[in-house]
Subunit: 361 residues, 2 copies
């Protein structure tokens, strides 16, 4: 644990414990993943997400607050229950890779509802990749056809390997068929995934990738209405895990697929605006995933049904991920402590705290 | 500058510059205030706020996103122009002082709209106190009667001294009349403010405090509809700076005062819900402060007019404060650097970055 606090001097008392907020850096997060093992992290995240989805009505829910610009979007995603409040800051800038930046970066905070004080600040670029994959696999475990062993992955960018690992850890899928419009992305993912023991086939077209796959994952990053899957590519019995279409004007599936599929979503008020179903009438029937997990709605009904998880990412998943992480931090996972909160001896004497910190002379 | 980054080892390369985000701690903020001098900080903040208010139509504005609970509220306050995006996290928990916590704590982030990458993370408990005071004084400079020299301050908590210093730095007010329901709060503020060279009178009732004052500042923290000022306490020609009523169900002024006053607000869609004017019809006329500053609407029209700045705090003020702070950080103000953003060599190879950080053995 690193204490990033000003040294105590006669002039400047050290900040009290109340002032300090645990901070999990990218380096700390990588250490956590390696110490725990990524499979265990993905399973634990899925368990936390499932536990929170099962108590869905307890949450204060709101669609994320998005600020769109020409190059992308910056979003704030809050969620709270009676004890904890969490939010994530996340950007999505498809052109970022051209300047060596990440398309998506994120960080987040978990707070104590009773006092409003932050309990944890964390990087969430890695944590979002992990929770997105855990959520997809959690949904697929409930929706994919029995005996599924092969997954097509269209879009082989930063999210690809995390999805594959989660589908193996939670769903037993270990055969992958990869396609990306950029062959270098496929080569990157194939090398990473073969080292992880997957049976991987690189395909030169999306049509080839979906051959023989029981699960199709689409995770492309273009910010536009694209057609990654055409209608003829999705056969009976397939589960489609569509995670790339996640903001207004950004979709991946041809509209006709949606008409043939049973559609499962996280939070309809957000998905209607951001997901694949932005292409449909606002009253097109969808099923909320939490209801399937809670046994309140059917999941897959038969072997020929096409199931679609139209995932846009919802704030409760981030809440669950931060809740998991706070548990790990309290159990000793690597973190620093930041002097983020002013904490005067007398809470009403903020100015006195400032004056007492005045340098001598 | 402290680098809070994992040490580079053959197994774990050090994070690149893109991964690191400047962090201004509470200690750093106090060092900045003492180095610059608080009067200069307040004037510079007011100048940044004024500059941003003058280009008001350029901003992407939204009411803050509030999560209310029994004990208080947690809010996210975003604002953006074409180049920069800022948001503040702030809580308000009136019962916090009972457990030695601050009623209000805050932190915030300023980001680059083009990439979505954060440019700065900062404590904002102190910075909010400073920007709130700067905004109040900026409004009063445009609205208070000519020759005002005495201010009544009802509510002598954490915000009190900052208000007084801003009104002296920007408006020339150096005589103060203090009242708080808790005499210890008044004693605290009086001691602090006398050390700063003010002429201070402690009063044993709000009625006494307003005697002879040309400006009345109300900054109490109760989360309820209170009547800090009754109608007969506000005479002709007074400027009222009402900053404590700032969420639904929390007001400070009797409704009749509002009927007699010319009302100035920050952002009507937010103030109608949160400010004193939540007591009025939603179409009661108000003037936006930015229009007064820009010369597009009249401010005070005559010596007998009662002017009221119904301030709830708006996200653009935080944006301006963060913009000011980024300038100071870039000019060398104390800060640390946090390994907040994942930055793989190949932006699409987030998993590869994780794998390369695997400990040896």
């Amino acid at each position: 644990m690193t204490d990033l606090s000003p040294a105590a001097t006669p002039q400047t008392p050290a900040p009290s414990a109340l002032a300090m907020v645990p901070f999990v850096s990218v380096g700390d997060m990588m250490r956590l993943v390696h110490r725990e093992g990524i499979d265990r992290v993905l399973r634990d995240l899925a368990a936390h997400i499932e536990a929170d989805f099962l108590r869905w009505p307890e949450f204060d829910k709101t669609p994320r607050v998005a600020s769109h610009s020409e190059g992308g979007v910056i979003e704030l995603m809050p969620a709270a229950d009676a004890r904890l409040y969490g939010f994530k800051y996340v950007n999505g800038h498809p052109g970022n890779t051209r300047s060596g930046h990440q398309t998506v970066t994120a960080f987040g905070v978990l707070s104590d509802v009773a006092t409003g004080y932050p309990l944890l600040l964390s990087e969430m670029t890695l944590l979002t990749a992990l929770r997105t994959a855990a959520t997809s696999a959690l949904a697929a475990r409930a929706l994919m056809p029995a005996g599924a062993a092969t997954m097509a992955m269209i879009g082989n960018g930063a999210q690809c390997e995390f999805q594959a690992l989660a589908f193996r850890a939670l769903c037993g899928i270990d055969r992958l068929r990869l396609y990306d419009t950029d062959p270098r992305a496929t080569a990157k993912a194939m090398a990473n995934l073969r080292r992880q023991g997957f049976e991987v086939t690189a395909c030169d077209a999306a049509e080839a990738a979906v051959e023989g796959a029981q699960v199709i994952t689409t995770c492309t990053a273009d910010k536009r209405n694209a057609t990654i899957l055409t209608d003829n590519m999705v056969g009976a019995g397939v589960h489609v895990n569509a995670i790339g279409g996640d903001c207004p004007g950004k979709t991946e599936l041809h509209r006709d697929i949606l008409g043939r599929a049973t559609i499962f979503v996280e939070y309809p008020p957000q998905t209607r605006v951001e997901g694949e179903i932005q292409q449909l009438d606002p009253d097109h029937p969808v099923t909320e995933l939490w209801q399937v997990l809670a046994g309140q709605a059917p999941g897959r009904r038969d072997a020929r049904e096409i199931t679609l998880f139209d995932s846009v990412g919802f704030a409760i998943e981030d809440f669950s991920a931060l809740r998991y992480l706070l548990g790990r931090v309290r159990a000793g996972a690597a973190h620093a402590r930041l002097d983020l909160l002013a904490d005067p001896d007398d809470p009403r004497d903020l100015f006195g705290m400032l004056e007492r910190a005045r340098p001598a002379g």
